[in-house]
């Protein structure tokens, strides 16, 4: 994560580009294992967060976007519009990584909270536009129904619906990503950071 170059470069190395399909694959595998283990979380953005940590916000955002476009075109069309949320997750994780917010467990936890908040802020208007404010999650939607019954403003009700689901999911996703990142060989990590120069011997 020791990027000396600007994190906003659009000139990607081949290794960075090939990281995008791998990230989408990791997202998918995370979701699959969460399902196999019957965990009450999605855990379907580990690849996006890792891509951001390894190669910066733009690659992270592209991984997120690719993830939802592919999922939208092969399984659930509505997930296309949530590409915006995935992009936001990738950007936020990449910026936080660049600013050194993944240096230890406490910082990683705070990063998880920030990413959850950003994801919720982007998803909520989409939920309102497309689903009248709901998420499709039983627990979240129960809270939504309760707040609606109490005449809370729609944005607050929908925000609560989303954050109840997103907060634990994103914080745990980020902590898992951080644990994996720490265990990766340094040589491997270095191929995704594009800031090396060829030194003369």
């Amino acid at each position: 994560m020791n990027n000396k170059k600007s994190m906003w470069s659009f000139r990607f190395s081949t290794a960075q580009l090939v990281l995008i399909p791998a990230a989408v694959g990791i997202n998918y595998v995370g979701k699959l294992f969460a399902g196999i283990l019957k965990l009450p979380l999605w855990l379907d953005s580990i690849g996006t967060v890792l891509a951001s940590m390894l190669a910066g916000p733009i690659i992270g955002a592209l991984s997120g976007a690719t993830n939802n476009i592919i999922y939208g075109l092969t399984a659930d069309p509505i997930s296309l519009v949530y590409a915006l949320t995935s992009i936001a997750i990738g950007l936020t994780a990449g910026i936080l990584a660049y600013k050194g917010w993944f240096d230890n467990w406490i910082k990683a936890f705070v990063s998880g909270l920030i990413i959850a908040l950003v994801a919720t802020l982007v998803s909520t208007p989409l939920n309102i536009q497309f689903w009248g404010g709901q998420t499709g999650n039983i627990w979240g939607d129960s809270v939504f129904a309760f707040l609606m019954a109490k005449k809370f403003p729609i944005f607050l009700a929908s925000f609560a619906d989303e954050i109840i689901v997103d907060l634990p999911d994103k914080v745990i996703t980020v902590l898992i990503s951080f644990a994996i990142f720490k265990s990766l060989p340094k040589q491997l990590i270095s191929i995704y950071t594009d800031d090396h120069k060829i030194e003369k011997l």
């Binding site: 990607f12 190395s13 081949t14 290794a15 580009l17 090939v18 990281l19 995008i20 399909p21 791998a22 989408v24 694959g25 990791i26 998918y28 595998v29 995370g30 699959l32 294992f33 969460a34 196999i36 283990l37 019957k38 965990l39 855990l43 580990i46 690849g47 890792l50 592209l62 690719t66 476009i69 592919i70 939208g72 075109l73 092969t74 399984a75 659930d76 069309p77 509505i78 296309l80 519009v81 536009q129 497309f130 689903w131 009248g132 709901q134 499709g136 939607d141 939504f144 129904a145 609606m148 019954a149 005449k151 729609i154 898992i176 644990a179 994996i180 265990s183 990766l184 491997l188 191929i191």
Partner: protein, 256 residues
């Protein structure tokens, strides 16, 4: 499965239309009802995309996707029917619950919009080979590298599925417990995802090198093996679709 795709061979009119035109239709079918946010507009696009699903002979295959969203739509009908903020006019009662006309109408609007999106996308994905769509986009000027990313995802996901089985078996053989209490199951997650991540990252390194020696970063103008002849009316259709989008934006601006 070797390749992630919902495409099915066929000879409907929509199979013959070029991928870009169908993609434009999807974009417009999603955007225009948002730009002009009226129930009439949503209904109009819902009717068009539903008709096209039938023209594509893809209705049966669209049903599973629709029923998946229908479960959520039912809860939307309940919640909005009961609690929509503008609810005034009772429509019917079910035991202690009073359903209101405004909320039900609002929920119906949501359902129409959701089903419109699903049907529009279905028209594209059931009648278009993903590889054709990607290649058409690259020919239109999308970066071949982005094209590569998309087409490789479609093959990498099925590959990852087989890795999942291998890892699951290997870790179970080493005594990893994937059933039982929540703590046990939660603890199993890292030993499962860890090897999958390492495996796919090491593959990216090797694949990146293999791509580079096959001219991936070449600055020459790319040529194509496949020549896809499409209907000559596709330009007319594309111009018409873009015109619809432009008109809807203008409409929105003047009627503001």
């Amino acid at each position: 499965m070797r390749y992630l795709s919902l495409y099915q061979e066929g000879n409907s009119l929509l199979h013959k239309i070029d991928p870009i035109t169908k993609l434009l239709f999807v974009i417009i079918a999603i955007l225009v009802p948002i730009i002009i946010n009226t129930l009439t507009m949503a209904l109009a696009f819902f009717i068009i995309s539903t008709l096209l699903v039938f023209v594509a002979r893809a209705f049966k295959r669209t049903l599973p996707i629709i029923s998946f969203s229908s479960l959520v739509i039912i809860t939307v009908l309940f919640i909005q029917g009961l609690f929509y903020l503008k609810n005034q006019t009772p429509f019917f009662t079910l035991g202690p619950f009073v359903f209101y006309k405004e909320g039900l109408l609002y929920a119906t609007g949501i359902a129409i919009r959701i089903f419109n999106i699903i049907n529009a996308v279905a028209v594209l994905i059931f009648t278009t080979k993903p590889s054709d769509l990607i290649e058409a986009l690259v020919k239109k000027g999308v970066s071949p590298k982005i094209g590569y990313v998309f087409s490789s995802v479609l093959q990498i996901i099925p590959q990852m599925m087989s890795i999942v089985d291998t890892i699951l078996d290997a870790q179970k053989a080493r005594g990893l417990e994937t059933e039982g209490s929540f703590t046990k199951r939660a603890k199993a997650f890292i030993p499962l995802i860890g090897p999958a991540v390492l495996n796919s990252l090491i593959s990216t390194k090797e694949r990146a090198m293999a791509l580079e020696v096959r001219g991936f970063n070449s600055k020459k103008k790319k040529t194509f093996l496949n020549e896809v002849p499409y209907n000559k009316y596709s330009n007319v259709l594309q111009v018409a679709l873009i015109a619809i989008l432009v008109f809807s934006i203008i409409w929105r601006i003047i009627s503001w």
